[in-house]
Symmetry: C2
Subunit: 317 residues, 2 copies
C-alpha cells in the first residue's frame, strides 16, 4: 500500500474502533445518545486517534489493534484494549469541544463538515447535554481500560494515560486555550505574541500532545521519552496552526473550500499578521524539522508517522 | 458534640478539602477558573462528599481525612488521599450540572443559593466553558488519586471508583436522567410512573449512589456489599425526591423559602400527584426503613450516617 491507501485504510479501522464503543440509542436516555452519536459519526480526519496509535508504534508493535479492527473483534491484550479505548475517548473529547464551540453563545456555527450542527438539529439544551455526555463518556470508556489490568505496571500505564487525558483537555490544556481565545476576541490588536502562542499551544497542541503521550505511555515509554514526545507534539501543533494562518492568506477558495482572507477581514491577529508570510514559512519549516528529528530518535522507526506529520504540516487545505 | 454540631463541623472540614483542590485563578485561563470557583464556593450542603466519607466509615476508620482537614494538611495514606480527592471530584460534578442546568437554554435560572447564577455574572459562553471545566477537572483530580498508589489492590480500588464516578454521572446516570426530564417537560400528563422513577433514579439517586459506592470501594467493601449499598442509596435518593414533592404540597412559604404548590402550577407530574399524600408518605417511610436496615447490616455501625439519612429524608425544607 502507498501512503494514501494506508491512511485511508487506517482511518476506516479507526472508524470501526470508535463505533464499537459508542453508546446505543435506546431507553429514556435515547435522545441525548442520538445527539452525541450524530456529532461523532459526522466524520473527520480522526487525526488524534491515528497519532495515538502511531506514537504507540514508536515503542512497541501495535498490529493487534489493526488486526482486531479488521476482524471486527476486541483486542485480547490489556494494553491493546486500553489503546483502542483511549483512541475513542480522545476523539469523543475532540467532538464534545466542537459541539459546545458551535453553540450560539460561543461561535454560533450552523454547519460543520457539511452537516447542520448539533444544536440546530436537536435544540440548544440537548446540544449542551450532548457535549456534557460526550466529555463524561470519554472518561467512562477510558476508565474501562482498567477492567483487564492485572499487574502494577499495567495499572500504572493506564493511570498515567488518564492523568494526561484529563490534564490536556482541561483548564491547563484545551479549555484554558478556549478561555484565552474568548478573551483575545475582545482584545483585537492588543493580543501579544505570548498570548497567541498560549492559545495555539492549549487550544490546538494540547490534544495532539495527549494523543502522542498516551500512545507512548501505554506502549511503555519512559518519562524522559514522554517529555521529548510532548515537545514534538507541541512543534506539530504550532506548525499546524501557523500553516492554517498561511493558507488563509495564500490559498484559493477552490483549494481551501472556505473563503480565504477571513482572518484579515475579522481583524484576527495571527502569527502571519505579526511576522509576515516568509518568516512564518521559515517557522513552520523549523518546527517541522525539529518534530521529525525527535520522532527519529525513538526505539522504532515509524515512517508512516513521519509522512503523516509532514502531510499534516505542509497541507494545502 | 451533638448531631447538629457534628454535621456543622464536618461540613466545614469538607469545605477545607474542596478548597484545597480548587484550581488557582491565574494565567490566561484565569477567567474560566474564576467562573468555576464562583460556582463551587457558593456553598451548599456538601451532602455527596459527606455521604462518601460516612459510607467509607462503614468499612474502615476514616479519622485520617478529618484530622488532616483539621490540621490543614493532606492525608498520608493512599486511600485517605484518594477519598478526599473523590469527595472533591463528586462535588465538582454536582456543581457543573447546576451551572449547565441554570443556562438560558435549560432551566434559565438567574439565582441559586441567593447569588446570581454563573452565566448571569460571567456570560453564557463562559458559563458553558466553566461547566465543561468543572466536569473535566473532576476527573483530573480523581486521576490524581493514582499518584500514591503502589499495590494492585490500591490501584484496583481507585480504578473501580473512577468507573463508578464516570458511569453514575453519565448517560447511564445523571445525564440520562436530565435527558428524560427534558422529554418529560414536553409530555405533561403523559409521563408514566416508570418514566418518573427513571428520572428520580438517574437525576437524583445516581450521584448519591456514586457517593456511597465510591466511599465503600475505597474502604475495601466487597462487590456484594457494594450492590447492597447501591440499593440503599437508591432508596435514599427516591425517598428524598418524594419528600421534596410532598413538601411542595404541604409546606408553607416561610418554611420552604420558595413558593409552595409550584409543581401543580407547572402541571408537573409527581409521585404525589399520582398517588396522593398518604400513599406518598407511606412510601417515604418504607424506603427510609429499608435504607436504614441496609446500613445497619455492614461491619461497622455508623450512627451519624443513620441520623444523616433520617434527617435528609424527613426534612421540612
Amino acid at each position: 500500500m502507498n501512503f494514501k491507501e494506508e491512511i485511508k485504510h487506517k482511518t476506516e479501522q479507526i472508524e470501526t474502533i470508535i463505533n464499537r464503543y459508542l453508546p446505543t440509542e435506546e431507553g429514556y436516555q435515547k435522545a441525548v445518545v442520538q445527539a452525541m452519536n450524530y456529532s461523532v459519526t459526522a466524520g473527520g480526519k480522526r487525526l488524534r486517534p491515528m497519532l495515538m496509535a502511531e506514537s504507540a508504534a514508536l515503542f512497541t508493535r501495535v498490529d493487534e489493534i489493526w488486526n482486531a479492527a479488521e476482524a471486527g473483534r476486541q483486542e485480547d491484550t490489556t494494553l491493546g484494549r486500553a489503546l483502542s479505548l483511549f483512541m475513542a475517548a480522545l476523539e469523543l473529547i475532540h467532538n464534545y469541544s466542537l459541539v459546545h464551540d458551535d453553540l450560539p453563545a460561543m461561535d454560533n456555527d450552523e454547519y460543520r463538515r457539511g452537516r447542520k450542527t448539533t444544536h440546530v438539529v436537536y435544540g440548544e439544551g440537548m446540544a449542551i447535554l450532548a457535549g456534557d455526555g460526550l466529555l463524561n463518556y470519554a472518561f467512562e470508556i477510558a476508565a474501562r481500560a482498567f477492567e483487564k489490568a492485572e499487574t502494577v505496571e499495567e495499572y500504572h500505564r493506564i493511570a498515567v494515560s488518564m492523568q494526561v487525558l484529563s490534564r490536556k483537555a482541561g483548564v491547563y490544556g484545551m479549555i484554558g486555550g478556549q478561555c484565552a481565545d474568548l478573551a483575545a476576541e475582545k482584545m483585537g490588536a492588543e493580543v501579544t505574541e505570548e498570548m497567541l502562542l498560549y492559545i495555539h499551544e492549549h487550544k490546538t497542541a494540547a490534544l495532539i500532545q495527549a494523543a502522542m503521550m498516551i500512545g507512548a505511555t501505554l506502549a511503555g515509554a519512559s518519562s524522559e521519552e514522554l517529555d521529548r514526545l510532548e515537545k514534538c507534539a507541541y512543534d506539530i501543533g504550532i506548525a499546524f496552526q501557523i500553516q492554517d494562518d498561511i493558507l488563509d492568506v495564500t490559498s484559493s477558495l477552490e483549494v481551501l473550500g472556505k473563503p480565504v482572507g477571513s482572518d484579515e477581514k475579522n481583524h484576527k491577529l495571527t502569527y502571519v499578521s505579526m511576522h509576515g508570510i516568509e518568516k512564518s514559512k521559515e517557522q513552520v519549516e523549523e518546527l517541522s524539522r525539529d518534530a521529525i528529528e525527535i520522532l527519529a530518535s525513538f526505539p522504532r522507526r515509524n515512517e508512516f508517522l513521519e509522512q503523516l506529520v509532514e502531510r499534516l504540516i505542509y497541507r494545502e487545505k
